[in-house]
Amino acid sequence: MLDVGRHPNITLLAYSELEKVEGEAGNFTATVRRKARYVEEDKCTGCGACAKVCPTPVEDLYNEGHAKRRAIYSWFAQGIPSTHAIDPDHCRVLSGKKCGICQKKCEAGAINFAQKERVSELYVGAVIVATGYDVFDPVKMPEYRYGQIDNVVTAMEFERFLSASGPTAGHVYRPSDRKVEARIEELEKKVKKSQKVLDRFERNHEITTHEFYGAYKAGNLNPGEDLEKDQDKWAKKYEAHLENARPLKTLREKAKGFTSAKKLAFIQCAGSRDLRFYPFCSGFCCMHSIKEAIIAHEHDNDTCSVIFGMDIRAVGKGFEEYKIRGENNSNVSYKRSRVAEITKDADENPVLIYEDTKEQKVKRQTFDLVVLATACAPAKGNRKIADILKIDVDQYGFFKTDSANPLDTSRSGVFVCGCAQNPMDIPESVAQASSAAARAAQTVINKNDKKAS
């Protein structure tokens, strides 16, 4: 990424969308809409001082909603360009309220609330489509109860948990436990506040709240003039306090037993190889599940993982060896099965119901956390791009090529690589990207592009 950002021959137009492409191979005119960032790209140094002072928390989609970012933000810390952007849906100033703290804080003077979107025209010889894919939303699979059972997460969420800079700092904490902890934090704040009020009463009347309330309820309180005035208020405050303090105590007790997730289940083909959603194989998910299981074990040696799949497709260079290494060294086991359903027990543990195909038996097994290996779905915007570029998509919604010319789309001078064409892993994508670059170079060098190569 850094190399691309620094390359003298590469102009990066981030936060921009293609609107129109006219012309022909060797001679295209592309219209690009450059969205307003409200931050001047030539001034912003990416120092991040603005995001530290912004008062508006926003759900952080980079962390799959498991953390908060601010209304002024960069998508993630090492993003290129490091130029920040203001999210107009959440920024106070852009929604007509008072704020502007970031503008005051920015020493580079880069914040510009009046910035407008711009339209650029680019003159190019060839176009490469490398728009990637979308992650399948497992809410569509009712049997796995994603969104209903907290401890069923997607592979992408799990990646964020494993990241040292992610929302759990690399520890695999269970979302249900984190919810409880968030609730505890919330109650603690309330209890602290109400305790202060109670403290004031205690100071004024020189008895403890406990003694006061006992006597008040028993009706043998002998109030002086001051207490007479305060007694009902004090009692009400105490009752309100208890309403928070009691559940807080229970939750604290419960939280004592929380540990990180040790028994993990990975369910392959969530949305892939499934005629309800995507009939195809997403290609890379078997490997990322094995990788995630191995990393979780590296982080905590007590972790053990079961990977449930119809086939384990470890088809790349060194992949089968990696799979075996997971089994031998990292407590990973592989079970040939398509999990039928996930339910949960009283402790928020997901329970898997599946057929063990070796023993021909339906089994139930309880885990701490379940990770869904979600399908590589064609990007939602593919059809729009296809219309703009006048290129074909295949029956699934990926950009169409033919096997003899694996980088060429249906329009001369427009090429495609990576998961925009077909689900594939990193080395394959990189190799394809190089090839697409060669095809584009050929087009530019020789405007009379021949379809032959």
């Binding site: 194989c281 095809r439 190569s453």
Partner: protein, 557 residues
């Protein structure tokens, strides 16, 4: 070397720039204090604190100070050299200062970030680091970037689909190609194949490509030719090629290795006999010659693959098995076609669709466990069917063993000749498994096709074109320019012990028998410094990191 630099080198005049990075650094340590401190250091004639040293204003101040203060060394104390060294050193060069007289100190990652909330300690450490940087910079010497010529000709080894695709793409980009194939004809493994997965005839597809390659004026084709010797380095390889006509020499700027792989002959597996127990490749031949006939044909996948000896999955055999099973079923609908497998490796959209279609055609798939493999004897095949829990016995008149691709027996010697590595299975080993799949660690040599790892014809073609792109990125430049940070070996003090030679990961050091000393090839050297650390007589030294420069830095701690 620039005369001005030569003179300036004598007496250092150092300028220090301390970056606030807004509040990223200045928020956690006292930048003005660090700049103030820098002013007191020996040879420092100018020190300045900037809000952002990397901004246009900051760069402008560096350039201005170089001219006005007659600076001959610049030290910037800011962020990571990984991201910003190129910007600062090139800015120095723009102001007329040799870029190798620039030194960078990382007070963001190493001070403000790791010591957040400890302002005093962070400031103290930043001062120390600046003192070290200044001490090193005083001893820096101006260096000139290394330049080398480029021969705009490419040697492609192997005339299969990968090599042919690479040659085509290179020729399309107006580069000259020498295509060397060891057998008598082009086409590689696909020559033996009946039909591609797309249903097209493999022969016809290959012929179209071969005809195109042979008709190109800038591709010189050699069949029955073998690479005998290679020497030189990126941009200037010298190769000797042996053909029927004799040995000839050629020059090439880059080399593409596309030597492919061969199918394992399943000798001793499942009663292989070449008649009613045959390999997948033999089936291709049968289909091609229209000699196929059987009432019940069973494919056994992973024959000789994914074993203790050969752990790897050969990637393409499942697809080839399914492809042929479908061809058979289509032409002989009454033939019972079965596939026994461990995992069906039908990755991606197209192959998985083949699997759905194959099932729809009535081809039967059964899992077998490698611990309890199928047994083949005298026209019968027995296997344990896991889903029913029963052993199934079939009268089969043809068993097809899907064997993996293995490296050709001469790939090891080729690897040695090119000085490139192979992996534990004998396939060529790329520079980085994820990010540089087509590069070797050695500059100027690339790999594509099944020689790297089994690949389908489409994948091999993609990789061939991709390798061409990697070559073009080098040969499109006017000349090769590389960093001056390379090792030198002083011939006067070198005793020729060759300790450095074994430490060099780039094979950049050779032993000169006549002079009895070791010598560094500047183009091959990547500046790792292993030789300098190893040399017992300190004859090997790394430019920009010489002992006196590093010692000055250490002594300043």
């Amino acid at each position: 070397m620039n005369v001005k630099n030569e003179i300036l080198y004598e007496s250092p005049r150092i300028g220090v720039f301390v970056c606030d990075c807004g509040s990223n650094i200045a928020g956690h340590l006292d930048c003005p204090d660090v700049a103030e401190y820098a002013r007191t250091l020996p040879d420092v004639v100018y020190a300045k604190e900037n809000l952002y040293t990397c901004s246009e204003a900051g760069i402008g101040e560096i350039k201005k100070a170089i001219k006005e203060q007659d600076l001959n060394r610049v030290v910037v104390a800011s962020c990571s050299p990984r991201t910003h060294q190129p910007l600062f050193s090139s800015s120095c060069a723009e102001a007329g200062l040799n870029p190798y007289l620039f030194e960078m100190v990382n007070i963001r990652d190493q001070c403000s970030w790791v010591h957040m909330g400890e302002r005093q300690n962070a400031t103290h450490k930043a001062k120390k680091l600046v003192r070290m940087g200044v001490a090193k910079s005083a001893g820096l010497a101006p260096l000139d970037e290394i330049e080398s010529s480029l021969v705009r000709k490419v040697l492609v080894i192997g005339g299969g689909i990968a090599g042919l695709s690479a040659a085509q793409a290179l020729a399309d980009m107006k580069l000259d190609v020498i295509l060397v194939e060891k057998t008598s004809g082009f086409g590689g493994l696909l020559q033996q194949v009946h039909r591609l997965d797309s249903g097209k005839s493999a022969k016809e597809t290959m012929l179209t490509i071969i005809d195109d390659v042979c008709s190109r004026p800038n591709i010189v084709c050699h069949t029955q030719a073998k690479l005998k010797e290679t020497g030189g380095y990126i941009g200037n390889y010298n190769v000797k090629i042996e053909t029927k006509e004799g040995l000839f020499e050629e020059k090439a700027g880059c080399i593409v290795v596309a030597t492919g792989a061969v199918p394992l002959v399943p000798q001793g597996l499942y009663g292989y006999n070449g008649k009613n127990v045959i390999s997948l490749m033999e089936l291709e031949k049968k289909l091609k010659k229209q000699e196929f006939s059987a009432k019940c044909v069973v494919f056994i996948q992973c024959a000789g693959a994914r074993t203790k000896e050969k752990e790897y999955c050969s990637r393409i055999c499942c697809m080839i098995g399914v492809k042929n099973a479908m061809l058979i079923k289509k032409k002989h609908p009454l033939t019972d076609v079965r596939i026994l497998y461990r995992d069906m490796q039908m990755y991606g959209t197209y192959k998985e669709q083949m699997l759905w279609n194959a099932r729809g055609m009535g081809i039967r798939f059964d899992v077998y466990n490698p611990g309890n493999p199928p047994e083949v004897k005298e026209g019968k095949l027995e296997f344990f069917q896991a889903v029913t829990g029963k052993t199934v016995s079939l009268d089969t008149d043809l068993v097809v063993l899907s064997t993996p691709l293995v490296p050709g027996n001469d790939s090891g010697s080729l690897a040695n000749m090119l000085r490139v590595p192979t992996d534990q299975n004998g396939f060529f080993l790329e520079a980085h498994a994820k990010l540089r799949p087509l590069d070797f660690a050695a500059d100027g040599i690339f790999v594509c096709g099944s020689g790297r790892y089994p690949a389908t014809s489409t994948e091999a073609r993609t990789q061939g074109i991709g390798a061409a792109s990697r070559v073009a990125a080098i040969l499109f430049k006017e000349k090769l320019v590389k960093s001056a940070i390379v090792a030198d070996i002083n011939p006067d003090s070198c005793v020729g012990c060759m300790a450095c030679l074994s430490m060099c990961p780039c094979e950049a050091i050779t032993y000169n028998r006549e002079k009895q000393t070791c010598e560094v090839n500047e183009i091959l050297c990547k500046g790792c410094g292993n030789c300098a650390a190893t040399c017992p007589s300190h004859s090997a030294q790394l430019r920009g990191f010489k002992p006196e420069q590093l010692l000055a830095q250490i002594r300043a701690v």
